[in-house]
């Protein structure tokens, strides 16, 4: 549907990738780990290696969770765009097909200390 | 039947108004909460100028209600003598 308007109505997106000075937004979240109230917003260059994203900011951010110590990144299940997906840890975000504002989710079956069974 | 309500500030001005509403609406339930009074009634609530005047001992313009009104619900019908709240269902 279009916006009801008195003349042609065109919206300019505020968060286009050009506005981030060569970086892009990536969202990441740990399924069923709701100590973290919302998915994390990260702003990174697309050349960042996936491994550096995971072992850098992501590992740092999840430390407050009691499951963090037991988290084995080689065993987690990944989702991108809410679909199962397998990353290449040594490829860049761009080469992994991770676009601007893509949402990555990871799951750790059996490792859910603070979460009641649904 | 759906409930209609009116909520008024709890103060000296509204005490006789609330008493008048109780007289005119025997089915109404008066809930006293901190600083306010909420009056619920099944389907319909009538507020009458003449009953308020009897309780108050002076003339009363129904629009004076606005000063101490907190909230209400239902379809409103007002004339010089009454203010009625009602649901059609």
């Amino acid at each position: 549907m279009t916006v009801a308007a008195i003349r042609e109505y065109i919206g300019v997106p505020r968060d286009s990738v050009e506005n981030f000075g060569g970086k892009q937004i990536v969202y990441a979240s740990w399924d069923r780990h709701l100590l973290f109230a919302a998915p994390f917003l990260l702003c990174l260059p697309p050349e960042t290696r996936f491994r550096d994203l995971v072992e850098g900011p992501l590992t740092a951010l999840v430390q407050a969770d009691p499951d963090a110590a037991a988290l084995d990144w080689t065993k987690v299940e990944w989702l991108k765009d809410n679909q199962p997906w397998t990353p290449d840890f040594d490829a860049s975000l761009a080469d992994n097909g991770i676009g601007h504002k893509d949402q990555l989710r990871f799951r750790t079956a059996g490792l859910n200390s603070l979460s009641a069974a649904a | 039947m759906s409930t209609v309500f009116i909520a008024l500030q709890a103060n000296e001005e509204t005490r006789p108004i609330i008493e008048a509403i109780e007289i005119d609406n025997p089915q109404a339930v008066v809930n006293r909460q901190p600083a306010m009074v909420k009056i619920d009634a099944p389907g319909r609530l009538v507020i009458r100028k003449s009953t308020i005047e009897e309780q108050l001992g002076r003339e009363f313009d129904l629009q004076e209600l606005h000063i101490n009104l907190i909230s209400l619900t239902g379809n409103v019908v007002e004339d010089d003598e009454t203010l009625t709240l009602s649901w059609n269902s």
Binding site: D15, C43 | L72
Partner: protein
């Protein structure tokens, strides 16, 4: 010599006719379409503006008289509050967080509503409508002013009140309320009436003003009770205007029904999200609580909103699309918000805290199906971290919803352990949402919502470029004073010291 004529007192209906309808005129040297250019493009068909009914039949002379009376009452109490150190009668200064949120997010909303009603009062051709909108425009500016004035008393003693205008414009959580009003004000006049007059005022403001203000009374805050109830005394008229407006549209033409229903669906959900924070104010921020958010929802949402939609069913109106999802969220939302506010409290111009054991027991009694199962374990873990000297701060900034602009803290309606992930692609760009409700709003008018100014992504753009310290300065947030945990804050220390001075001879 002039003859003295005894003035005949006019009846309510007669007076209303003279003081509203008789003030209108037909245009002669301009067409009606040129004078009222915005009344047609939304597709709403009106055949007879004379059918507009103001059930209160309030006229301007009576309006000024009663508003003046309200102002006198208001200032009598505000003066007494200021003269008698009213701030020391609070149950606890952590209560002030609720007021800070109110001042930063809600009072500016009142001002926005003022602008909106002033505009639609000009855009509608019907005289009854114009007068009613004009009164509401004046009411709304009065609300903004009295609220700011009342809360300025707290600014003399406590942090977080000093820069509400900057906060309103720049800090992240206020964009929720701001985008709500911007959305309404950039719509046409009829949609604005459904947005503010009907969905917000009629369906939702009771939840804000009635139990919350009663809660303010319970917590010894006479200043807030006074502005709250003074505002609310206008609200009954606003609600009635909203309801009359919707009935008027539906009675004028059957073609209006689908348009109106679509707006009800949209604005119920927008309003539910923007008022969601009230759940946290009620369940967590009032030291003494009158009722839980769930109990308030049962009275004002389920019972009252239910009655309203049953009544409107005669026109073919159905309850809003998001109604069932809202019901499913009620027992979760206050906890989800407070957990978020606590972990992001480095970036809020108000304090949050870990609920005490007593508070948690109260929450558990009020939310027997959800609190102990889902939320107590998280609070206990957070408490453990605080006790160990490593308080939990989540420096991972939050993903925001493109529509409501809240952090996406909400879970799947039927699975409270899983974050609700929703996205849409429009013109090759990806957009994220907190719920189906918000995604639906976006998908109906993507061209409007792609323009959203989302504070979190903005932080990584010019001029802040990801620098948290620069951001704090830009939003006028004084690190270590306005933000963080209430425990150990200046507000807490000062309140305790001053109250000690007030109640002892030391």
């Amino acid at each position: 010599m002039d003859m003295k004529v005894a003035k005949k007192k006019l009846g309510l209906k007669e007076k209303y006719k003279l003081m509203t309808r008789d003030l209108g005129w037909d245009t002669t040297y301009q067409t009606k379409e040129d004078v009222f250019p915005y009344v047609g493009y939304e597709g709403i068909k009106i055949h007879d503006w004379e059918k507009w009914e103001d059930p209160f039949r309030l006229t301007m002379d009576a309006y000024w008289k009663y508003q003046a009376e309200k102002e006198r009452k208001f200032y009598a109490i505000i003066d007494a509050h200021a003269q008698n150190n009213g701030h020391l009668n609070l149950t606890d200064a952590r209560y002030l967080s609720a007021l800070k949120i109110f001042l930063q997010a809600i009072s500016p909303g009142e001002y926005a509503a003022h602008k909106g009603f002033a505009r639609v009062g000009r855009e509608f051709p019907g005289v009854g409508t114009q007068v009613a909108c004009q009164m509401q425009a004046i009411d709304e500016i009065r609300h903004a002013q009295t609220q700011i004035h009342a809360m300025s008393n707290y600014n003399r003693y406590y942090n977080g009140f000093h820069a509400f205008a900057d906060t309103r414009d720049r800090i992240w959580y206020t964009s929720v309320a701001r985008s709500f009003f911007d959305d309404a004000m950039s719509a046409g006049p009829f949609e604005f009436m459904i947005a503010i007059g009907f969905s917000f005022e009629y369906v939702l403001t009771n939840l804000l003003f009635v139990p919350f203000m009663s809660g303010a009374a319970y917590n010894g805050d006479m200043a807030t009770v006074t502005f709250g109830f003074s505002a609310q005394s206008d609200e009954a008229r606003h609600m009635t205007l909203g309801l009359e407006c919707i009935k008027f549209m539906l009675e004028q033409d059957p073609d209006n029904l689908p348009i109106v229903q679509n707006w009800i669906d949209k604005w119920f959900w927008r309003g539910f999200r923007v008022l969601g924070l009230v759940s946290t104010m009620m369940d967590y921020m009032l030291p003494k609580r009158v009722m839980s958010w769930r109990e308030a929802w049962d009275i004002y949402g389920v019972e009252n909103g239910g009655a309203l939609f049953k009544d409107l069913a005669r026109y073919g109106i159905k309850p809003p699309k998001g109604w069932d999802d809202a019901e499913k969220a009620i027992d979760h939302m206050s906890h989800q918000f407070m957990l978020g506010l606590y972990q992001w409290s480095f970036g809020t111009a108000f304090h949050s805290w870990i609920p005490s054991e007593d508070d948690m027991n109260w929450l558990s009694a009020k939310y027997p199906d959800t609190f102990d199962k889902y939320y107590r374990p998280r609070w206990k873990h957070i408490k453990k971290l605080a006790d160990a000297g490593t308080p939990f701060k989540n420096y991972g900034l939050a993903k925001l919803c493109q529509c409501c602009q809240l952090p996406t803290v909400f879970t799947e309606p039927d699975d409270p352990t899983l974050t609700c992930h929703r996205e849409s692609v429009y013109n090759g760009q990806k957009y994220h949402f907190c719920s189906d409700g918000c995604k639906n709003v976006f998908d109906n008018e993507p061209e409007k919502y792609v323009q959203a100014w989302l504070p979190m992504p903005q932080l990584f753009q010019e001029p802040i470029n990801g620098d948290l310290g620069a951001w704090m300065e830009w939003v006028s947030l004084r690190d270590g004073k306005d933000n963080g945990d209430y425990a150990g804050s200046e507000d807490q220390q000062n309140f305790e010291a001053w109250r000690g001075l007030a109640t002892t001879n030391q």
